[in-house]
């Protein structure tokens, strides 16, 4: 018994330790962008960009956001986490940071020579992955890369900005820098409805279920009424047995069993005095001792029901404020990417 308990305890300990150790390992590490004004456009964790190149990239990205409402952010890291390629990791960072729907995230993995540009939900149909891949291969060729990351990254940023400007109209002071999802120009627009109509199968199931449910209720009610009626009906007297033949015994008819029946109380007349001179006549036969069962008073106690009710007040929903519209940004406006984009995996 003690051995079993020990074994169980050690097994549980093993399970919990595996769970707690496994949890942090399974979560992928996402780099953090700086919250200083406008520094969210460049996150140089691999430290491959010079200060001058960083400032140039920031200026270009700020101008792109102000003029076209498109967010471009550059991220450099040394190595990809295990199990991720550049596309998947760029997708994770994009959604983790909540980069705008009108956005691009350019990931450079310096140690593995991989690059990827992820696009936001709204840009996904405007800039194709093929175009982005071509740009990347132009500045990061398969061979003879001269390790000049400043020039290569600046070149990619410049060409990508040109692509984005062609896809979006000039908006001046960034009045439309919000996270509007642009519906794709497909026939699926007509399929979008707020309320989904119930399917025919749901309707049939619902109808059958209601019929069965009410059928059961009705049947139960009918059975209850029937049984009440039966008990309330006067009992039938049993037919008297035929007279005995040749000296058979005769049994008086049995009185029916009526447990709650209280026979009326008979008050006997006092016997009339015998006529003078002896007895005469047959005195009336009196009923045997009658029992006087008084029905117990069924007191109906009605406990007062205190209904409780209350109104639960829902907490007020907090309003969501969106960012955008100013040249100095310290966080993204919130959005997402469906994946895709272009580059070298």
């Amino acid at each position: 018994m003690k051995t079993c308990k020990k074994l169980l305890a050690s097994f549980l300990l093993l399970i919990f330790s595996v769970i707690f150790i496994a949890l942090p390992i399974s979560a992928v590490t996402i780099p953090q962008y700086s919250s200083a004004p406008n520094e969210l456009y460049v996150t140089d964790e691999a430290n491959i960009l010079s200060g001058q190149a960083t400032n140039k990239i920031i200026d270009k990205c700020v101008k792109l956001y102000e003029d076209y409402g498109v967010t471009l952010t550059v991220v450099t890291i040394d190595f990809l986490p295990d199990g991720y390629d550049s596309e998947e990791y760029a997708y994770e960072i994009y959604n983790s940071w909540g980069v705008d729907n009108d956005g691009l995230l350019f990931l450079v993995v310096a140690g593995e020579y991989k690059q990827w540009i992820a696009t936001g939900n709204s840009l996904t149909n405007k800039i194709s992955g093929g175009e982005l891949t071509e740009i990347i291969y132009e500045y990061f060729p398969d061979y003879n890369f001269d390790e000049d990351f400043d020039t290569a990254i600046l070149g990619v940023v410049t060409d990508v900005i040109a692509l984005a400007e062609n896809s979006y109209g000039y908006i001046g002071n960034n009045d439309n820098a919000t996270n509007n999802i642009v519906s794709p120009e497909t026939s699926y627009d007509t399929l979008v409805t707020d309320e989904e109509p119930a399917s025919f199968f749901d309707f049939i199931i619902g109808t059958v279920f209601i019929c069965v449910f009410f059928g059961v209720i009705i049947l139960i009610v009918v059975l209850i009424i029937t049984s009440i009626r039966r008990s309330a009906r006067a009992p039938r007297r049993a037919a008297p047995p035929p007279p005995p033949v040749n000296g058979g015994k005769y049994y008086a008819p049995r009185r029916p069993y009526r447990p709650f029946y209280t026979p009326p109380v008979h008050h006997h007349r006092p016997m009339s005095p015998p006529p003078p001179g002896g007895f005469g006549g047959i005195p009336p036969i009196g009923r045997p001792n009658s029992f006087n069962n008084s029905r117990p008073n069924s007191g109906s106690s009605s406990a007062g029901r205190t209904g409780f009710g209350g109104s639960s007040s829902r907490p007020g929903s907090s309003s969501h404020s969106s960012f955008g519209g100013s040249s100095s940004r310290s966080s993204f406006g919130g959005g997402g990417s469906r994946g895709g984009g272009g580059g070298r995996k």
């Binding site: 992955g129 093929g130 891949t133 071509e134 794709p184 699926y188 399917s199 199968f201 749901d202 984009g341």
Partner: protein, 183 residues
């Protein structure tokens, strides 16, 4: 004694009612869950239209454009061209989600097999750029399909079908699991 007044009749009727309501309830809830998954496939989880169905249509168009360029340099009866043509036809004819997935995999194989051949084929610079760009567009559409929220919804639905008692009940109400488009 009247048939309807017997206790045994009542018991049998009760059991039948409980069983029927269980089946109907399960069928309704499976149907509701499956409806959400199908909506994510056809219209996107948020109804925005960004969905696997639209991405598969993109794959169909892109592979068609690759085939158009290829036909300039290859014969129509060429094995790669006809394989891609056949695969596209199957993708177009597929109706259910499972059929779409099967057909998509065949188109993927045909494109992956054809692209290296096209890369080494002598063609104009413009066409060579088009082929490269189309191939990366094709790859991009596949990336989006693998990230789509439909996959997680379908996986969650399938996981629910494998738990007792759903693993028995779903067969009685003909609820089948969904295929996923993960990589």
């Amino acid at each position: 004694m009247n048939f309807f007044e017997r206790k045994s009749t009542a018991r049998i009727f009760l059991i039948i009612c409980v069983f029927l309501s269980l089946l109907l309830g399960c069928g309704a809830s499976f149907s509701r869950m499956a409806g959400k998954v199908e909506k994510a496939y056809a219209k996107g989880e948020d109804g925005s239209g960004y969905c696997i169905a639209s991405d598969i249509d993109s794959l169909y168009e892109i592979s068609g454009n690759i085939n158009k360029i290829a036909k300039k340099y290859f014969d129509v009866s060429d094995s790669y061209v006809s394989a891609l043509q056949l695969a596209r036809g199957q993708l177009k004819d597929a109706s259910s989600i499972a059929e779409k997935k099967q057909a998509k995999l065949i188109v993927d194989s045909a494109v992956e097999a054809f692209y290296p051949v096209l890369q080494v084929t002598a063609m104009s610079e413009t066409d060579a750029k088009y082929v490269t760009r189309l191939y990366y567009d094709y790859r991009e559409a596949n990336d989006k399909i693998s990230h789509d929220s439909y996959n997680s919804l379908a996986a969650a639905y399938n996981a629910k079908l494998n738990v007792f008692p759903a693993n028995i009940l779903h067969k009685l109400v003909f609820a089948s699991p969904f295929v996923t488009f993960d990589k």
